[in-house]
């Protein structure tokens, strides 16, 4: 049986109250829902709470799910609205680097220490860039880049139009690109010193 057919069967049985079918749905969607919550809220603890609440809401409102709509869009819509509400209520908090858990990411088949350090720096940089965006812009970036959603799907999830999605995406990318350029100009001095010393020494030889 195809993946989509299997999913439809789970949803149908979950709508009839089958908790085992709902458990299958949780297993299938825990990754995307958690990732969206993490990217929006910036903290693994908050993301776990939010993702759990999203699934509870989905369970309570399974009967309101319209089978004509993609289930992934429906559940990510619940997650999006919940995360935005939470951010607006001020429940999102700054996360310190100490909370960053590199083990939380999908495992690299051939991990190397320097690659792990690079990955960690990159993820921290991405987190900082996302934190500069307003909630709605952050959401479209996450849905576009992490969940590979089309403009139409994003518009459906965010309850807006495709042109609004494109506009937000463009502005979000511009803001992040500016922040990235500013970070590059403000590189840590010891890194600058290393590169400069190397460059000056090599020219002197």
């Amino acid at each position: 049986m195809g993946g989509i057919d299997q999913e439809r069967l789970w949803v149908l049985r979950a709508q009839q109250g089958d908790q085992e079918a709902f458990a299958s749905i949780v297993n299938a969607y825990q990754g995307p829902v958690y990732n969206l919550a993490y990217r929006m809220l910036g903290s693994s603890g908050d993301a776990e709470d939010a993702a759990q609440e999203v699934f509870l809401r989905a369970y309570s409102h399974m009967e309101s799910y319209d089978p004509a709509r993609k289930f992934s869009s429906w559940i990510l819509s619940i997650a999006s609205h919940y995360c935005i509400d939470r951010l607006r209520r001020g429940h999102g908090r700054q996360v310190s680097l100490d909370e960053f858990e590199p083990d939380r990411w999908l495992p690299d088949p051939a991990p190397r220490p320097e690659q792990t350090a690079l990955d960690r720096d990159r993820e921290e940089q991405i987190r900082r860039l996302l934190a500069t965006l307003p909630e709605q812009h952050r959401l479209v970036i996450v849905l576009r880049y992490w969940h590979d959603m089309s403009y139409e799907e994003i518009a459906q999830i965010t309850s807006t139009t495709e042109s609004a999605v494109k506009s937000r995406l463009h502005r979000a990318r511009g803001a992040m690109a500016d922040a990235l350029a500013n970070e590059a100009r403000r590189q840590p001095v010891n890194t600058v010193v290393e590169r400069t010393v190397e460059h000056v020494t090599s020219r002197a030889i």
Binding site: G31, Q52, M62, L106, I141, Y145, V189, V192, H199
Partner: protein, 178 residues
Amino acid sequence: MSHPGPSDVANVPVRETKRLYERRLADPDLGAGQPVSESESFAELDELLACARLAEPPSHFAAQVMVCVARRHSRQRTVRLVRRVMTVVVLLVAMIGGTVWLLSAVRASNAPIVGGISLVFEQIAAILQTLAVAIGVIARAIPGRATVLLGVWIAVAAGVSALWCAAVARVQPSRVHA
């Protein structure tokens, strides 16, 4: 040339660090002062985001969610039961209270309807008494063995009905209402 290690960098004086930093900003070979087009900066951003990975929840997450779901389901069932019981209690209180109040009001007004209602209740009681007497006569008229057989048949029918209801209840999954 050996690459300067961390200890070498850390030992560079602050004034020297500042001088080197200013030189880096001024030296075009080090990439300073280069104008960056929007497409280039977007490309750089896309390259960064392309390397981003999906965050994974903790291993116990799904199990944790299902525990909360089971708890919520149980709570919802309790709330529904309490709601139904409260509804029945309220209805009974309203009906009994309303009836008592109405009767007392009518009796106080000494209206002729009071006599009429009493007569109706007396008639109903008489009919029920007659019915009970008739059932007793019929039961005594049936021979002893047939009564026993009838009793056994009724018991078997009741048992089969109970088993059927239990089987149907087991097949149907628990229903949840939002």
